[in-house]
Symmetry: C2
Subunit: 345 residues, 2 copies
């Protein structure tokens, strides 16, 4: 049994009006209704008003699912980040979203939780739903982008990028920044400096480690790597183990803000003091960094500029513009606070 719009027997909600209902009420064709609603072609003003009135009267809302099928796209931008609990990415999402909404795009946020499989499945989903574009900060730099490319869905990567080329990338200049920071610790007299690293299989992880290693090597010092996997708890465990191992590290370079939290906690629990016993420098500048005890010395990333640029590129691609893939690199800023030893750097 097919229910008609008017047919609202008690209990069940009335079936929503379809375009055909509007057409009938306005005494025009469905094509005309469609045109009016999409402000498409020039339609006779009188018909336009009739259609609008009919639509209003029936409380008509176009069925998006039908439109999606017909157009083979869902008209939204997907934002895929590795860890929504990381304030760095949370801020990025907010900025991207703000710009997208401003430009009339809807946005869908997906959190891959530093998991390659989840990334794959979310990208698959966004491809299946035919989003118009994707801002991706990969959990897995080997991520498969082919399906997106086949479907002509533009992707711009941000913060971290993909192994395969061909997509626009907006990244931070990690290597020199971490190298310089490590170098300054060395100049301040530190000889035993450990690196609390994030997943080396990801660009930011490997680059930050590389920067640290370069500085250590230049100074002829032995590097000391602790694996924090970009996560707070893992970093806490790694640093606890480091300290328990009788290691004599007098300084720590930490690869992101979540791990800084874990590292600091581990140091405290071990009864050591910052910066007296152990100096700390971390990447990222979350709002609480300056309020910590002691205030945290950081390498701040220009998230707003990066996110803005990424959206600019994506929107141009969505608009069909064609240009060679760009890779843009933004410098980090060293903000010296107290956790690295006052004014020592």
């Amino acid at each position: 049994m097919v229910r008609r719009p008017g047919d609202s027997s008690l209990g069940t909600a009335p079936r929503p009006a379809r375009i055909r209902d509007v057409a009938e009420l306005a005494a025009v064709s469905v094509a005309t209704v469609s045109r009016v609603l999409n402000e498409d072609a020039r339609v006779d003003p009188e018909l336009r008003d009739r259609v609008r009135a009919a639509a209003a009267q029936l409380d008509y809302r176009p069925n998006r699912l039908a439109r999606n099928l017909r157009r083979q796209q869902m008209d939204a931008i997907g934002v895929v980040v590795p860890d929504i609990e990381n304030p760095h990415f949370a801020e990025m999402v907010r900025i991207v979203e703000h710009i997208a909404l401003e430009r009339g795009h809807r946005v869908l946020v997906c959190n891959t939780d530093e998991d390659g499989e989840r990334q794959a499945s979310y990208l698959q989903m966004l491809a299946d739903e035919r989003v118009s574009g994707i801002v991706l900060s990969p959990s897995d730099s080997t991520g498969n982008i082919d399906l997106l490319r086949d479907l002509n869905i533009p992707v711009v990567t941000i913060d971290r990028t993909l192994k395969v080329g061909g997509t626009d990338a907006v990244v931070a200049d990690n290597i020199p920044a971490v190298r310089a920071a490590t170098h300054r610790l060395i100049q301040a007299g530190h000889r035993s400096i450990a690196f609390v690293g994030g997943r080396p299989e990801v660009e930011t992880g490997s680059e930050r480690q590389e920067g640290y290693l370069a500085a250590m090597e230049e100074a002829g010092l032995t590097p000391l790597l602790a694996d924090g996997g970009f996560r707070r708890d893992a970093a806490e465990a790694a640093v606890t183990q480091l300290l328990a191992g009788g290691c004599s590290a007098s300084a720590l370079v930490v690869a992101n803000n979540l791990m800084a939290l874990g590292a600091i906690r581990a140091i405290r629990l071990a009864g050591a003091r910052i910066p007296t016993d152990i100096a700390v420098i971390s990447v990222d500048n979350p709002p609480w960094a300056e309020l910590l005890d002691p205030p945290l010395t950081v390498l701040a990333q220009p998230i707003r500029a990066m996110a803005t640029r990424a959206m600019e590129l994506l929107i141009r691609r969505i608009g069909g513009e064609r240009f060679p893939a760009v890779r843009e690199i933004y410098p980090l800023e060293l903000i010296i606070r107290h956790s690295c030893g006052t004014n020592q750097l």
Copy 2:
């Protein structure tokens, strides 16, 4: 001109295979292909294998947009939160997402940024796309849920709830918690206690304020309200103004963690010390609370339990289960650290 699957002239990507192509290759009907792919009815094993082989050979992926239209739903759970940069909601999102994925649901995250209009437009979008259910933490408690109800899309609210009844709600027991915390400050000798509040038009905002007011009134003390709008910067400005106004507040009750950051910063900038000059208690227990200077006394919410319960309810609703709307209330836990004065409470 219609392009056929095989027809991949240079340059353009080959059109993706459709169900009909699979059917032809496997020499069965499209109905059979559909059945095999949906593991629907019992299909003859031989046909099944043929279909699977054909699908694999053509690298067939069902067109989700067509399926969505046919089924009138997109098979995903929408998660709508007021502020993705607030670690409280970020954690909630992660837990909800984890459970959803575990149960085979895809998830779409939407951030309404404490904005009623954005909430309306995201709910509209999720309705239009026919998600199977929504976890909503409202930015605007007057939010319109009717369209969701008309479409039979279940909604459960979490943390904050809606004015209109009829939806399941999982909330924290804000009033007694804030009242008790305020009361303890009073017992510790404080007479001038200010409240840094979040948007009173939202449930958590009004309830926390109510708890504070109740305690003050019971003690015959004059309340002092500062509006922080649940935002860090606004709270910093409000507290700065409070202190500049020559107010003699010796303690602050802050309604969420973001505002605590702002309040602490304002106190520092004003040259006052915590807890000596001003004691601070805040709602929320983000990971950095214990690492602040001084460690922050907080009212912690059982986010995991709340999010888990919310998902349980939602999944039952999605499964078609019918039961009266529930409202579940979870207690907060007072965690005493140093920011309220050592052991004074």
